[in-house]
């Protein structure tokens, strides 16, 4: 990130970065599926899945109110930005999974399913918030029926994540043993390489878009993940989730999307300014979460699980 802020020419080629993203999502999906295959689908797990969906629907509402009260963003920009904070960042989730593992905590594979489920409800809330400003929104010129639904439900991250999760769940540990060297042993190295690219992207995004962000908007990028984390921690406590699972649910709720939601927003709310929502989620919230947020979320999880 520092290299990008200092205008270094260093970059990971675009197609390699996209390949790394697919690898990470596939690896995390397979791992989650294998973990899920070891245990039956209990009511506790179903409640966590439901909690994820409810959080993704509700967080944009809070984010929207916070943005409208503390910043000068109009309804459309605030709704589009709020969608990013209700959805999730899969890279932050992957980094948190590693942090949880290194902290000596166990986490269930079903949290990968929670991640997939939390990607899209926020978009629906944001569209509702954006449309309340006036009469029914006219369809965007040239839009085709089903175009947004395809983008929202069949984007690359959901297809790869859910697909790999299903394969891991069906095949189990034995069935996936032959791909273990590729998807497990190489995982940390690839994650490092991908985080390097993410750092560069975040730094460049921040350098190119910082003029569009006011101080209250940047503040939102820092305090909103903490508010979301607090709410998720309370729900994790109510559900009696173990510390590892709670840490991941908190991280998912606190993270902000910068892959699936920006693409959906360009289709559904093209009037919203990407220089605001993308700079905020990628340039401010992502680095905050990866460096400072995740340790806080693990600590919160330990507290609610009674291990703090």
């Amino acid at each position: 990130m520092v290299a990008a802020l200092l205008r270094s020419q260093m970059s990971v080629p675009e197609s390699i970065a996209k390949g790394l993203a697919i690898y990470l999502m596939m690896a995390i999906g397979l791992k989650g599926g294998v973990e899920m295959s070891k245990n039956p689908l209990t009511m506790d797990i179903m409640l966590v899945l439901l909690a994820g969906i409810v959080l993704s629907f509700l967080i944009p509402l809070l984010a929207f109110i916070a943005l409208r009260l503390t910043t000068k963003l109009d309804r459309i920009d605030a709704a589009a930005t709020a969608a990013h904070y209700g959805s999730i960042s899969i890279v932050t989730f992957v980094a948190a999974t590693e942090a949880v593992r290194l902290s000596g905590l166990d986490s269930g594979g079903h949290l990968v399913a929670v991640a997939a489920l939390m990607e899209t409800p926020a978009i629906i809330t944001a569209l509702f918030l954006a449309s309340r400003g006036g009469a029914r929104r006219e369809p965007v010129a040239g839009s085709e029926q089903g175009e947004l639904v395809r983008e929202v439900f069949l984007n690359a991250s959901i297809v790869v994540l859910v697909g790999a999760l299903a394969i891991g769940w069906i095949a189990g540990e034995e069935g996936t043993a032959s791909v273990q060297p590729f998807f497990v042993d190489l995982f940390q190295g690839v994650l490092c390489l991908f985080l390097l690219d993410m750092g560069l992207s975040a730094g460049r995004g921040l350098r190119q878009g910082w003029r569009q962000l006011s101080v209250p908007t940047v503040g939102f990028g820092i305090y909103m993940p903490l508010i979301s984390a607090g709410i998720a921690a309370a729900i994790a406590g109510l559900l009696g989730m173990p510390a590892g699972d709670a840490a991941l649910l908190i991280t998912l709720t606190a993270s902000a999307s910068y892959i699936a939601v920006p693409a959906a927003m360009r289709l559904a709310l093209p009037e919203a300014k990407p220089s605001i929502y993308l700079t905020l989620s990628l340039g401010v919230t992502f680095p905050f979460n990866v460096t400072i947020g995740i340790p806080i979320y693990i600590y919160l999880a330990l507290l609610v699980a009674g291990q703090g």
Binding site: S11, E14, R211, Y258, P262, A263, P270, L278
Partner: protein, 101 residues
């Protein structure tokens, strides 16, 4: 050589399918979509490398046709650019094989 109009549209990648549909609906017989590497607009520089979602990428769409078809496409594309990021230009060009357009 026959004179035709060349329409050049620089538009955000996420809207390019909508723009292409407009060109097809107007009856234009072909178009080409090219990726854009980097640029400046709206007081902001942008670069393909910055955005992993590629939602901020821009593309260039080029098409050539007779005046009636290009003007018809321009109306629809004008509506599209009411919401999406982009610019459109039309210029007069000479073509070797007019029957193809």
């Amino acid at each position: 050589m026959t004179k035709h109009l060349r329409i050049e549209l620089i538009v955000e990648r996420m809207a390019h399918k909508r723009a292409c549909r407009d060109l097809e609906t107007a009856g234009l017989t072909g178009y080409t979509v090219l990726p854009a590497m980097a640029g400046f607009g709206g007081s902001k520089r942008w670069n393909r490398d910055t955005d992993l979602s590629a939602s901020g990428d821009m593309v260039v769409i080029i098409s050539v046709g007779d005046e009636e078809k290009v003007r018809s496409a321009m109306t629809e594309i004008g509506d599209l650019l009411g919401a999406h990021i982009g610019i459109v230009t039309v210029s007069e060009v000479e073509v070797l094989r007019p029957g193809r357009f």
